[in-house]
Amino acid sequence: MAQTPAPFHPSEAQINRDLLGPLFKTGPKYYAMLALLVAVTGMVFVAWFFQLKYGIGMAGKNRPSFWGLYITTFVFWIGISHAGTLISAILRVVQAEWRRPITRCAEAITTFALCTGSLFPIVHLGRAWLFYWMIPVPNSRYLWPNFQSPLMWDFIAINTYLTGSVTYLYLPMIPDMAVARDKATGWRKKMYRILALGWRGTEREWVRLEKAISIMALIIIPVAVSVHTIVSWDFAMTLMPMWRSTIFGPYFVVGAIFSGIAALLIAMVLIRKYFKLEHYLLPIHFDNLAKMLFAMSLLWFYFTFTEYLVTWYGNEAPEMPVFWSKISGRFAPLFWLMVVCNFVIPFPILAIKKLRTIPLIFVASTCILVGMWLERFLIIVPTLTHPYLPYNYGTYFPSLTEAAIASGTLGLFVLLYFLFAKFSPMISIWEIEEGYTVAKHSVESAHPASLGSTVDGDVHPAH
């Protein structure tokens, strides 16, 4: 049972010190981790070099399993990208005050997950050096890409989402860049000066910035929903058994938000511990997000159950081999591991208040990430290995190159996040300060004594 901590009312100067501290001080542990991440990321590019040199055959894909680990991991990363911006935007739109320490971590996850995920449509190509043919410009014979293809929808949607989330990450960062500029020295000061764009914090600037952020929040929510729906349509637009399902759109969005919140919780736990932000990322934040995660776990289970029930009940000849291979066949161990990771383990941890502690939430979130990766894998490979004509059934096993690239992108993502954490405060300084002011005013206006003590009758209730 945690003791109620003493109330923490920091001054703005202290908030600035606490949240900017990690930017200006770096310890040996950081450098050690950085070296490891660079090594893992290097592994990705080395493996990719060999794949480009010797041919895409270095990956373990075959006929009929033409897609494998790369597309699995692609969908996984795009899914994780849904946490940040969606959660941050939704919480902002409903004006939930507890969003304040979370928004920056979340938005950063989105941006870097998108960057990492966008690598895969290039990596998995047979002729990756020609990837630019998918860019919407005509070639020398005035041939444009094919906009009827779900992959082109992917291209447009993911780029829109990337632009939107970079903007949504950067806009609230501007005032924090100004704080960093005012506190930094040397080369850092020059860098933050440029990034702060000359921000001074005038009233005009704040009004417009907040308006821009709220417009962005309203735009980014439908974009996020559409992006993963479109990614799901890479599968749902085909004729393949157990892919041709109308449930895929919402199923993938729910799964994305699910894995995204789990990733966000893991990031928050690590940031809280290593940047010593125990006073800002409070147990209540983890508790609230854990409750959202629980809701998503139930939703995920609901969608999965529906999908499999309908398939089983329909008993269609092409679909049943896929179904049984997952429930009791070759993929059964992975399938049931997925169910355990996504539902059985998180359910008690997230449902029972006593178990909803930060360490156990970390465990649940890690299980969920493993489970969600498995879910993507189990959507792709069993269907592909059981096509319509049974003579063409196959098997799939990832090759070393493939596994190296796919697993190495975890290192790439964490590396990008790591570098970002040294360059921008991971908790939005001005939003925290605003939060304390709002809290103070709401306490004051709720107190009857304050109604009499005004200056020129100027007290307004909290915004």
Partner: protein, 167 residues
Amino acid sequence: MPQTCLVKFAEPTQARVAVRRLIKDGIDPESMEVMSSQPIHGERIIPEKKPTKLRTWALSGAAIGLLSGLALATITALNYPLIKGGMPIVAPWTVGLITYETTMLGAVIATLVGLLVELGLPNFKNLPYDPSVVDGGIVLAVACPDGLRQTVETALNGAGATKVNWV
């Protein structure tokens, strides 16, 4: 030569009082600026003549995006008509999808550009600024012509200003 004074207040209410006095004493609101480390809630401290037009920016960007998306999906298909899968050359579903995404993209870019244009950022000129504002408090900057310096000082001192810096 107009000079600018920077005054630091502890609370927004004090700044409001000061601004009201200055306006009453005839100082033009356009020559005043209020700076803070966080957005100030409640009524505007300095009334603004031209409200923000960001929503217009966003909507125009969306409109441009919409038209671009329509053009992209239809004209490129008609340019090199290939029959694919027995589907029509221009299918409303796919055109609609692409158009939706480009509309959103247009709105996003227009919002960002609109914000930067309206604020005049990036702006690295030495505009009046007090770096200590990031640690709390409100800074009021008044650019006043020569003769009114005394008026300004009186108004500010009356509002409870602790220190008036002239730059």
